[in-house]
Subunit: 321 residues, 5 copies
Amino acid sequence: MLVNCVAYQDGRKLADIAREDISIYVARPECFVWVALRDPDAAELEAMQGEFGLHPLAVEDAHHGHQRPKIDEYGGSLFAVLHNIEMAGAELKVGEVDLFVGSNYVLSARNRAEPGFAAVRARCEREPELLKHGAGFVFYALIDAVVDRYFPVLDALESELERVEERIFAGHSARANIEALYVLKQKLMTLKHAVEPLIEAVGKLYGGRVPQICMGTQEYFRDVYDHLIRVNQSIDGLRDMVTTAINVNLSLITLQENETTKGLAAGAALVAVPTMIAGVYGMNFKHMPELDWQLGYPLAVAAMVLIDVYLFFRFRKSGWL
Amino acid sequence: MLVNCVAYQDGRKLADIAREDISIYVARPECFVWVALRDPDAAELEAMQGEFGLHPLAVEDAHHGHQRPKIDEYGGSLFAVLHNIEMAGAELKVGEVDLFVGSNYVLSARNRAEPGFAAVRARCEREPELLKHGAGFVFYALIDAVVDRYFPVLDALESELERVEERIFAGHSARANIEALYVLKQKLMTLKHAVEPLIEAVGKLYGGRVPQICMGTQEYFRDVYDHLIRVNQSIDGLRDMVTTAINVNLSLITLQENETTKGLAAGAALVAVPTMIAGVYGMNFKHMPELDWQLGYPLAVAAMVLIDVYLFFRFRKSGWL
Amino acid sequence: MLVNCVAYQDGRKLADIAREDISIYVARPECFVWVALRDPDAAELEAMQGEFGLHPLAVEDAHHGHQRPKIDEYGGSLFAVLHNIEMAGAELKVGEVDLFVGSNYVLSARNRAEPGFAAVRARCEREPELLKHGAGFVFYALIDAVVDRYFPVLDALESELERVEERIFAGHSARANIEALYVLKQKLMTLKHAVEPLIEAVGKLYGGRVPQICMGTQEYFRDVYDHLIRVNQSIDGLRDMVTTAINVNLSLITLQENETTKGLAAGAALVAVPTMIAGVYGMNFKHMPELDWQLGYPLAVAAMVLIDVYLFFRFRKSGWL
Amino acid sequence: MLVNCVAYQDGRKLADIAREDISIYVARPECFVWVALRDPDAAELEAMQGEFGLHPLAVEDAHHGHQRPKIDEYGGSLFAVLHNIEMAGAELKVGEVDLFVGSNYVLSARNRAEPGFAAVRARCEREPELLKHGAGFVFYALIDAVVDRYFPVLDALESELERVEERIFAGHSARANIEALYVLKQKLMTLKHAVEPLIEAVGKLYGGRVPQICMGTQEYFRDVYDHLIRVNQSIDGLRDMVTTAINVNLSLITLQENETTKGLAAGAALVAVPTMIAGVYGMNFKHMPELDWQLGYPLAVAAMVLIDVYLFFRFRKSGWL
Amino acid sequence: MLVNCVAYQDGRKLADIAREDISIYVARPECFVWVALRDPDAAELEAMQGEFGLHPLAVEDAHHGHQRPKIDEYGGSLFAVLHNIEMAGAELKVGEVDLFVGSNYVLSARNRAEPGFAAVRARCEREPELLKHGAGFVFYALIDAVVDRYFPVLDALESELERVEERIFAGHSARANIEALYVLKQKLMTLKHAVEPLIEAVGKLYGGRVPQICMGTQEYFRDVYDHLIRVNQSIDGLRDMVTTAINVNLSLITLQENETTKGLAAGAALVAVPTMIAGVYGMNFKHMPELDWQLGYPLAVAAMVLIDVYLFFRFRKSGWL
């Protein structure tokens, strides 16, 4: 679905143009065209391939989807695949953003991604000084927008870990904690798969042999690179903490088992000792003088109670009860 | 076994040719010959060595088999070893594909691999524009076909992990889960051994000093490279999750043991307390007034029942039963 | 908040200057201005941007805060973000120090950081020989001051680990130890996030293509680099030991559980055996000769006691009690 | 001990020569001398140092032994240390092979290594075409022979792991499995110490600045390199699996403990419930109507049996027995 | 404390000289001065700084101590910090050796290190051929001496691991083993901190841009480098084995707990079953025919004994007792 299609010149919007007129504007070296597609089908991609002369391999990748993030150079043009990640409730929703960029066109195609790039376009149009840099700057602005969306996701995952940590040390619901940590690790893997491949790719846009399109905007790409490194570093830190938390949780479960066993032992002792005494006086020997004592029974019961009281306080003191 | 043997010129099939005529066509610089072997024996390899002038070390490797994946350059020719991986039921079946490529020949020899390359040949012949690139393009198409077969294997392993994950958190059959995770890890190692060495090898075919044969098709090899990186990244992610799942499973087993111990303690208490009371009134003291009460027995039993009911609800409340 | 604002020439302080006069001194190539801000708001940063011609991206980063440590080059000027880490009781307090450095100005802005840089300024003014190097030397002195603050933090964390280690092997409060180790790991991550990104950044200031500003002071930056490497190495060592300590703690908990179980088994035996004997002589068979013996009862009790004494010493010997 | 000493020219054996005549042949640029020593003592090494002008550091290393594998270049000559690894029963026997190679000599000295290099010599002499390459080719052939001996060792270790894996999942002798896995890991470390340092060293013999001696035989050294990489990759895979197997074994032990505890709980219940009932009817209350019933006793026993049968089947169903 | 101070020329000792005469000899380009200090105080270091023109940063580092190992280049001179590690009983004693080297002086300052360098000096003076290389060779000889001291430490730690391994598999004192493994890991960290930073530093002395002072002695530094790599590799291997040993120990503790639980279950059964039978015949039913049998009692006891004998052998057979 074509979202919009605008021609720009000298950092200013010329006009919303019809899809049929794209080739006219692309032919004029002083302007560039910025087309936004949403969940495009094969026919739309093919049409765009015709207008902009996109490389067949890039179009094929965009069509198949489920690519890893990357930025490929085809002659003078660039093809980028980004993962768009949003929180959908507690789940991560992974969409894909494909960007085709040439010296005078930018084509963005987002798939399975709720938020669009209207805000990016608006911001670019508000800053003609920057938009003058042309397609390269739009390319930066789009990547920056996608990367900026990783931060709230990361924050959500950090909060999730903090919630689980609290529950772990409060001793609540070990089973739920284990599952929560595992699910959290899965989400971190998903986010990492979006971020890690991009780092190297974006790194090439500001250092070393910079593609012609990105000339003059390297500092902006370095900024994106810094953001990616920061996200990636945080992901690695979180993953490490999740692994540690799983181990810590195991330690706490083992500790709790230990305490259960201690409780079992103490409880068993409290019941077993009186039972043993009762057993002794339940024996049927003819000659058991205590049985004939007037105070035999109260004394026996008192012994039971005293021993238990003594045991109870010893167990309590040593933390077994 | 010779599967087929075809000469091509200008991207089009010239003719199926007899093995004896190979040298004739190889001698003509404008065409190239594409020979496909299946489970070749030493004699067949030797014959081919004669026709194409293959390097002795390459032929020896192909003969011995069980090589690690690699792409070697011998003068102007290339020798590639690939692992062909298929699902055979729940098992992985590892075959080997050896590719010998020169400026005007491609020799593929597959061993212990069910699926052939007829589809690759058909696709190449349908696209003469691409086939014009010559032996290098066929080389790409064959590697691409083998690498594409890794994806369904990867998907199968991912589904396998998901099935085990479900069973883990549903609390089913911990023993079977452990074994399943271990077997899954073994399969991931097998797949990794097929993928990892290829990454570096294929990387050299599009960046740096590109072999003459691959000139003009670098973008295709970069595409294969991207696929390999993606598979490898997914394997690493899966391996990490398998390790985590083993730990999580251990935590859950420990937790379950904890619960067993709690159940044991609670059950023991429910039985031991009435036994103790019974023991007390089983004592043979002469002077035990309760024994003479009309309601002594019902009261004792009632005490047993009430205490057990109380304990039962306390244990239930604290989750021990 | 403007802390102070001083102009220097030839390694000596010229004068405290008013904010309005900054541009005058900056315009004189033979002097440089050193401005210190504390928790600056947007307006202050903007004003400084005007005075020194700071790069918009750098100012934006300083304004947003929560950057990862880095040193960026913008044309001939440098922008550094450092994490200031202090112990606030047992907690780590993370502040941020932003440094803007040009050929004849240094602007430091610290956020959420208690200690200022008055000592650095004093030290620099005491050593005109060194201060003659200009803005680059001040830049070094500021980074050095922040990095030097990592050492007491590291020492505190090392002491913390030692305290936990002692408690672990003394067998005290396993639960508190686990939590302490986890919190310690979190702090180490925080410190690592401050140190690790700086290493590469500072490395570029003395080796390879050194920025013009740092020319002549490379040896000082190598010194900072050495300190950073040392801190980082210690952090990694500590992290490894924390992980090991968590495992060791788990082993000790499991071991203790083992001992609890042994104690339970031994205690149960000591009580159950006399109970069994009592049970036997509590049977109501008509023909039980022992019941009629004069010494039946004392013998039975003696048997109970002797067996228990024997068991007690055996259990004691094998460490079960 | 001097094993043999032969002069070669143009890829053909000239003659077995006496040790005294070595210098004569070494002086003739068109031939090269190949000397094989076994467990040489200091005097023998010194004599050879004289004949071939070996570097003192290399001779010292060979004399001391217990070097890590390496290939050092001393001017135009090479000195290689290899670990020779054989299976001696279930143990690994680590020997050392020292190779001194110059433009027209090869000196091999093996220490604590059973198999010699007679087969290598025979193979070289059968292929004069290859032997024409001179000392470099003999150097390759010797390294290749040592490296080829790693494969059966690796296979033995793989079989060992498979045997332990089977025993683990069959539930046999957990203690023996743990020890076997630990010993297996030790052996893998030993093999890794032989292989890993060689990889980098051999890599330098075919890529980058190749020593003069190895010129023309790079493809052979690349072959050795491939073998080393393959061995190393397999070792890493095995190590990873051993670690996983240790974890899996721990999980299974924990699981088995869980089952033991369940069995204990179930068994205790089966015995404790009838004991409780018996206790109740063992009470001495005057007024216990059941005691006077004609069918009291059989009913009580029937209740015990029925309850136990019921419990037994419930425990059986839930897998506790 | 000044240990000694000697001037050398042409590889031979000229004279023991007074501290006051150092500057005279340093001024003569054909000789070099070798000064050895022990636990120098600030004044001594300052004096030496004056004599040799040492770099302030280097002197400051030497004064503060507790540096990480490193080799810094200051203009034409080198400054090395080494950790001297000795076994002090079972503990590691970490000292520091600071080396200042210029074209015609070597200043060694050891701190908290028992063994001196008299042996190094003696060896150097015995080999004038080598000493002719000048300060660079002395530099090598001193580093070599410190590095050689790591080997006995490493051997001691290896023996320590072997002792713990034996105790682990012999099942002795799990608690002591855990602590021993933890302490061993701490020592390995200490040794690693001494070795690892040196590797890169020494590597620069024989490859790449070699400092002028080390020209002509690169092969010696490569030898030191090899030693360092070997130590480091052994440390890593040991650390890996320690981690594995901790896991293995945990497995064995868990296994032992399993066996304890089995013993508890079996013992409980042996006591509980006779108790149950006794309980049954302790019931007070009027109509219990067995109670009147002449053989009732012996039969009941025989039943108890037989059941226990049967259970005992079953438990024994299945390894529970």
